[in-house]
Symmetry: C2
Subunit: 723 residues, 2 copies
C-alpha cells in the first residue's frame, strides 16, 4: 500500500463511528493496553507478559520498532540492522540509482559495512518515552476564544511543550492529539539521521506484481529490505559521515523460521498514519462526492504526464519512479475507498446512525442540552469549507506536484517565518526543522526533470482556469491578464517559459543559498518563481487561516461527538491512528471475497511461477524459476502446503504508515513484514469489517529463502538471530 | 457454453492424444459401457444396474434423453415435457418474440397446453437403436482408391445404409464415425417435429450474468426451461398442427429435490458435439496459429456490426440476438481455447509426445514398418491445406453470416442436387432433408434485417480484397472489375446495392417458390443473388473436393495413429465426441484455479444478490431481491449452506452439445441441468485436465424455487415427479 505516501497526501483531515466491538479491530496505543486487552490476547495465544511487550521505561519489544521513511521498520540485530518493506526503501533506492547502476531493477547487497549506501533524506525515529500532556495543552485554551484563536493557542502551547522537551537534548519531541483533540501526548524520539541501504531484492521480487497486484490478494510480492542505522562515534545523532558507527538499539527482535498456520496469534506493532473511524456523514459525503473523485481524476492526469515522460527517457523514468508509484498507489487507494463506501453503503449507514443518535438525544433531556448542537455545528463547518475547496485543492497540489513551486514556496515561506521568534513560527518552519528543510531542497534534485516539471505546472494552470468565480487564484489571473499570446494555452506557455528561463532554483546550490537570505535580499534576487511564490503566499495564507479555524472548530466538536457516542453506546473506544506507535493483534486467516470463492491465508512459490509471464510486473527472475523447477527450496518449506511460503494474511488492523511493521508471533518473534491490505480493507480506514479486512505480510521465510538461495546473502543471515 | 452453436461452427475438423487414465475423463458411448466401468461407477456411489441406465432395447433412463436444438433435453413427464437449458430454448424464444411481446426479456409460462407456443425449426431426436455397421461401410472401400474416391465411397455407402434404414419407416437414421473413422455405427431416431415452448424464466434469471459470466465460475445463472414434444394423433411424427397431441416417451426421469453435496456421485447423459483428444501437433498448430486467432478477429468485427445495429433499433436487436449470442459464445470459446493451449503448453507437449512416439517406432522394427508414414502423411495433408485455408475461411463464413448469401447458396445448390439420383446427392441435400431446408429458408425471416445483412456482406467483401494472390475468389474479382466507382469501397457499395435492390429472396414466399424451381427455371428468374451463388458455386466446389480428399486421407490416417498410440501406451480408449449419445460420470467437486484461490462446488442465492448491479446482465429481478430480503426460500434450502442453491460443479466430462443434459444422482434422478463448463475446461476439447475441468449445472432446486416462488408455475411442478 506504500502507506507512507497516503498519510502525506491526506491534506484535509475529515469523518466514521464504529464501536470497538471486535477484539481484532483497533490500533491500540501501547500505553493504553490494559489487563483486559492482555487477557484477550493471551486467550488467543500470546505467550508474552505485558512488560515483555512494553514496560513504558525502554523495555519490551515495542522499543525495537521505529518510524522510518513514512513507514515502519524494526531492529533485528544489535548492530542497527533494520528489517522493513522493499517499498519503504524504494525512494532511497531511486535516489541512488542511475540509468547505469539501477538498484531498483537489479536490487542491492552490501558485502560489508563499507559497501552500504547512504539513503538520502531517510530518518529513523526511535521512541524514548510517552507522556500525557492533555492538561498542559488545555491550560492554554479559554472558553471565549474563537476557533482560530483556539487553534493557535493549542498550536502555540504544543510548540512550547516541544521546545521545552528538546532543550539541550539530542532528541525530537512531538505533541500528538488523540480522539480528534480529546487527549494530547508528548512523544520523545531519538532520531537516527544516517541510514544506509544494506540489502534489497531485485524489483522483480521486491515489487513482483507491481501496481496490478497492489492492494490485491492472492499476492506474491517479496516486499522486504534491510537498512542500517548509524550514529556518531559518541553515540549521538549525526548526519551521514564516514566515521559514523552502527547504532546499538536497546532492544532487537528475533526471527522465527517456524512459520504460520491458520488461526495462529499475530500482532503488528508500527506507526499507522491516519484512520477516520469516528467521522460524521459530512466527512463521508465530502470524500465520496468531492475529495476522492477529484483526486482520482487529477492523479490519473498527472500519471499520464509522468508515464509519457518516462517512456521517452529512462533517466527521467528513474527520476519520476517514486512519485509515479505514490500517485498510482494513492489512486488505487481512493478508488478502493469509493468502492468500499458504496459497497458498505457507508454514507447511508452514517446518516441512519446520526438519525438514531439524534433521536436518542431527543429522548434524553440532559444529553440533548449537552450535545444537541454538535452535529449541526459540524455540518456548518463543512458547508463553509465548500466555499474554498476547489481553490484549496489546486493550490495544495500545485505546491506538491510542481517541484519549482514546491522549492520557491518553501524558500519564500522560510524568509517570512525566520523574521518571527522561533516559538511563533509555523510548525515545520522552526529552527529544529531547518536541517530537514535544507535536505529536502537538496534531494529535490534527484526527482527533478525540467520538461516534466513544466508540463505539471502547465496542467495545474489549465485547471486553475476552470475554477469558479468565487474561488479564483488572483495571482494567477493577474499573470494571465498580462501574458502575451492570443489563447489561454499560449499565455500559459509564455508564463511558464518566463518562469523557467529566469529562475536559478533549478540548481541545488542556489536553492540552499537563497534559503539563507533575508526577505529583503531574497526579493532583490528578482527570481520569477520567488515572485510568484510571494504573490501566491498572500492568498494561501487566507486559505490556511480559514482551515485553521475549521480545524479549531472540529478539534472542539469531534471530541464532543466521540464523548456523546461513547455515552450513547457504552464501552471503551480506541483512538484513531495519528502517526504514533500502535499495536494491533489478530490471527492468521483467509477470507471469502464473494459467493463460492475462498482465499487461503497463504500463497506459495508455485503461485509466483504461475503468475510469471516474462513481462513486468510479472517477470519472475530466472533464478527463482530454476530453483522452483529443481525444487531447490533449501528447507524454507511450509509444513502444510509443502511449498515455499511467500505472503500471508492476518486479521490485524493496519493502515498506511504500518508498511514495514514486523508481524510477530505469540512469542514476539518476527514472522513477516506487513506491507499491504487487501482491496476490501481499503475502506477500513473508515469502517473495519472483520469478515473482509485483512493485512498482507511477506512471510519471513520467503525473505530468508530469497536472501539465501537467490542473493547468497549468508553474512546477513548470520547477523540475524533465527529460531 | 451454448454448445449447440460451437459444434455447428466447427467447419474444419482437426487434433490431442490423451490416455483415458482417469475414470472421470471420457464421454462413453452407451453401448461401450462395460463391467469395469459400472464397477468403477458403483464404487463411486451409483445405485443403478447397467440395465437401469441402458439395456439396448429401449429400456433404461438413457432413452429419456433426446437431442434438441443442437443441445440436449430430457423427458420429465409422461406427457412429453422436456427439461433443458434456457439457452437451448433461446433461439425459439427469439423467433417468437417481437418488440411488443419479448419472451426473451420477460420469460414465458403457458397456463395450459393450449397456451404453449410452437418453437419454429426445433426438432427432438429420440434414440431408438444403435447398430455397428463398420464392416458394411468398409466393404465399399478398396485399397487402390484415391483419398477423394475413398471419401466418396464411404459417404455413398453410408447414404445407402441410411436409405435402407429409413425405408418405409417413420424414423431418421444416421451413420456416425468413431475414433476418426475406425468404427461406424448406425443410429435410428424417432424425430419429434412439433416442439412447443412451455416455460422459460425471464432473461435476468435464465441468462443472469450473460456473456460476462459465460464460461465462468462462480456462476449464478438459472439456465433452464421447459418445452413439450407433440406428435400426430396417431403417434406419428408430424410438423406443428392444432390437432397434435403430447408425445408419450417410453421413459421419463424423476426429479430429486434432495440436493447435492461434495463428492456425491453424478452422471450426465447427453449429446456432446465434438472433441479432438487424439489429434496431432499439425492440428493444434493449425488452430493455435491460424484458425482460432482468425475467427476471434472476424467474430469481434461481426459483433461490432451487430451491436451497433442492435443499439439503434430494438426490433433489430431481437433479430440478431441469437446470432450475436452465438458469436460471443464462440469467441469466448476460442479465446479460452487459445489460453488453454498456451497455459498447458499443448503444442510443445504434442510435439514432445510425437518425438517419443517416433523414437518408439524407431526401436521397434515391426511397428516402424506399419506406422512410420502416419505422422509425416498427416503433416503433408496440413501443408496442402494451408494453400486454400484463407479462401476457405472467407467463403465459408460469408455463406454463414450473410443471410441472403446463405439463402441463395442453398437454393442454387438444391437445384443442382435435385438433378441427381437421391442417393448420389450431397448429404444434407437429399429428399429426406427437404422439409428441414424449407423450414430453414422460412424461419430465416425471423433473423433478417436488410441493412445489417448488407453490412455483413460488405465486411466479407472487404476481407476478400485482402486474400493472397493464389487464393482469390474469382467470381468476386470479376464483379469488382465491372463495378462502377472509383474506390474499392464505392465498388463494393455498388455491387451490394445491385444485389439487394434486384433480389426477391428477401421474401420467404419467394425463397420457397424458387426452391422448387429447376436449374433452368431458376436461372431464368435472373435474381442477382442466385447468379452470384452460381458463380461462387464453381469455386467452392473445387475447395469442397479438396477438403473431401483431405477428409478421406485423414479418415485413413487418424485411426491408424490412434491404433498405433493404443499399442504404444496400452489400454482402452474412449472415442471422441461426435454428436451421438454419451454418458460421463464424476463427482460434485470445487477446484482451485490458482494459488490461494479455492472455488466452492456450489453457489447461492446470496451470490445472485451480491452480483446485482441493476444493470444487464446483472439485473436481478425485484421478485428475487424481495424473496431474498424476506428469507422466503420456500423450503428450497441447501442443508450445508443454509441458502437457496443456484449452480453447482461436477467433474463430469462434457462439451458443446451437452447443453441441457440432465445431471443425475446415484439413483438416476435429475439433480440439475448441465449448461456450461468453467473457463479452464474450454481447452478440454483437446486435453482433459482432471484438476481443473468442471461442468457447470443449474441446481434443479433453483429451478423449482424460481418456478414456485417467482413464476407461480404450480401446475408445472405438479406435472413433475419430485422425490
Amino acid at each position: 500500500m506504500a502507506g507512507r505516501c497516503i498519510a502525506a497526501l491526506v491534506i484535509l483531515s475529515v469523518l466514521v463511528m464504529a464501536a470497538a466491538s471486535l477484539a481484532e479491530e483497533g490500533m491500540w496505543p501501547l500505553d493504553k493496553l490494559d489487563k483486559t486487552m492482555y487477557k484477550r490476547m493471551k486467550a488467543m495465544g500470546l505467550e508474552l507478559s505485558s512488560k515483555d511487550i512494553y514496560d513504558g521505561k525502554g523495555g519490551g519489544i515495542a522499543y525495537a520498532i521505529v518510524q522510518l521513511g513514512g513507514g515502519t521498520a524494526s531492529f533485528v540485530s544489535p548492530k542497527g540492522l533494520m528489517f522493513t518493506n522493499h517499498h519503504v526503501a524504494f525512494t532511497a533506492l531511486q535516489r541512488v540509482s542511475t540509468a547505469e547502476q539501477n538498484y531498483i531493477e537489479e536490487g542491492f547487497l552490501a558485502e560489508g559495512y563499507e559497501d552500504e549506501i547512504p539513503a538520502p533524506g531517510y530518518r529513523a525515529y526511535v521512541l524514548l518515552s510517552i507522556k500525557d500532556v492533555t492538561k498542559k495543552v488545555f491550560g492554554a485554551v479559554k472558553d471565549e476564544m474563537s476557533d482560530l484563536e483556539r487553534y493557535n493557542a493549542i498550536e502555540m502551547r504544543s510548540k512550547e511543550i516541544v521546545e521545552e522537551c528538546e532543550e539541550n537534548r539530542d532528541v525530537e519531541c512531538r505533541v500528538a492529539s488523540f480522539y480528534d483533540g480529546m487527549e494530547y501526548k508528548l512523544f520523545t524520539y531519538f532520531v537516527v539521521k544516517d541510514i544506509r541501504i544494506v540489502y534489497a531484492p531485485m524489483r522483480s521480487i521486491g515489487n513482483y506484481g507491481g501496481d496490478i497486484d497492489n492492494w490485491m490478494w492472492p499476492r506474491h510480492t517479496g516486499d522486504f529490505s534491510f537498512l542500517r542505522a548509524y550514529v556518531a562515534p559518541d553515540g549521538s545523532s549525526a548526519e551521514y559521515a564516514d566515521e559514523n558507527i552502527p547504532y546499538v538499539p536497546s532492544v532487537f527482535l528475533h526471527i522465527s523460521s517456524k512459520g504460520v498456520k491458520k488461526n495462529d496469534f499475530t500482532m503488528v506493532i508500527g506507526y499507522p498514519g491516519q484512520t477516520m473511524r469516528y467521522r460524521s456523514s459530512n466527512s463521508i459525503g465530502h470524500h465520496q462526492n468531492f475529495n476522492y473523485p477529484r483526486r482520482i481524476k487529477m492523479f490519473r492526469e498527472l500519471l499520464n504526464i509522468f508515464n509519457r515522460a518516462a517512456e521517452a527517457d529512462e533517466s527521467v523514468a528513474i527520476k519520476v519512479a517514486s512519485f509515479d508509484a505514490m500517485l498510482n498507489n494513492a489512486m488505487k487507494n481512493y478508488e478502493g475507498m469509493l468502492e468500499g463506501f458504496e459497497k458498505a453503503g457507508l454514507l447511508d449507514r452514517k446518516l441512519a446512525e446520526e438519525k438514531e443518535f439524534t433521536a436518542w438525544l431527543e429522548s434524553n433531556g440532559e444529553m440533548k442540552k449537552k450535545y444537541d448542537d454538535v452535529l449541526p455545528s459540524i455540518k456548518a463547518q463543512y458547508d463553509d469549507y465548500k466555499m474554498r475547496r476547489e481553490k484549496n485543492m489546486i493550490t495544495g497540489f500545485t505546491g506538491f506536484g510542481c517541484l519549482m513551486i514546491r522549492a520557491s514556496s518553501m524558500i519564500y515561506r522560510w524568509c517570512l517565518e525566520k523574521e518571527k521568534e522561533d516559538i511563533e513560527r509555523e510548525p515545520g518552519y522552526q529552527e529544529r526543522d531547518v536541517p530537514r528543510l535544507k535536505q529536502g531542497l537538496k534531494i529535490l534534485q534527484l526527482s527533478y526533470d525540467r520538461e516534466t516539471d513544466k508540463k505539471v505546472l502547465s496542467y495545474f494552470m489549465h485547471r486553475a482556469l476552470e475554477l469558479p468565480e468565487n474561488q479564483r487564484i488572483e495571482a494567477f489571473d493577474d499573470m494571465m491578464s498580462e501574458a502575451p499570446g492570443s489563447s489561454d494555452s499560449d499565455k500559459i506557455d509564455a508564463i511558464i517559459e518566463e518562469l523557467y528561463s529566469g529562475t536559478k532554483l533549478e540548481s541545488a546550490e542556489e536553492r540552499l543559498r537563497m534559503f539563507d537570505l533575508s526577505r529583503k535580499e531574497l526579493l532583490e534576487e528578482g527570481d520569477p518563481f520567488i515572485e510568484f511564490a510571494m504573490k501566491l503566499r498572500e492568498e494561501i495564507k487566507v486559505l490556511e487561516e480559514k482551515d485553521k479555524g475549521f480545524g479549531g472548530a472540529l478539534n472542539k466538536l469531534r471530541p464532543k461527538l466521540i464523548e456523546a457516542y461513547a455515552k450513547w453506546k457504552g464501552g471503551a473506544l480506541y483512538p484513531d491512528a495519528n502517526g504514533t506507535m500502535r499495536l494491533t493483534y489478530g490471527v492468521v486467516k483467509g477470507y471469502s471475497p464473494k459467493d463460492a470463492v475462498n482465499y487461503s491465508y497463504i500463497t506459495n512459490l508455485s503461485g509466483v511461477v504461475e503468475k510469471h509471464t516474462g513481462e513486468e510486473p510479472f517477470d519472475c527472475p530466472e533464478e527463482i524459476l530454476e530453483l522452483y523447477e529443481a525444487r531447490d527450496f533449501g528447507g524454507y518449506v511450509d509444513a502444510v502446503t509443502g511449498d515455499v511460503p511467500v505472503d500471508f494474511l492476518s486479521t490485524c488492523d493496519i493502515t498506511g504508515g504500518n508498511s514495514g511493521s514486523p508481524i510477530l508471533n505469540a512469542r514476539g518473534e518476527v514472522i513477516g513484514s506487513a506491507f499491504d491490505g487487501n482491496y476490501e480493507s481499503i475502506s477500513a480506514d473508515y469502517l473495519f469489517n472483520e469478515r473482509l479486512t485483512r493485512d498482507i505480510n511477506v512471510d519471513v521465510r520467503y525473505a530468508l529463502f530469497v536472501m539465501d538461495k537467490v542473493s547468497g546473502a549468508q553474512h546477513l543471515l548470520d547477523e540475524l538471530t533465527i529460531h
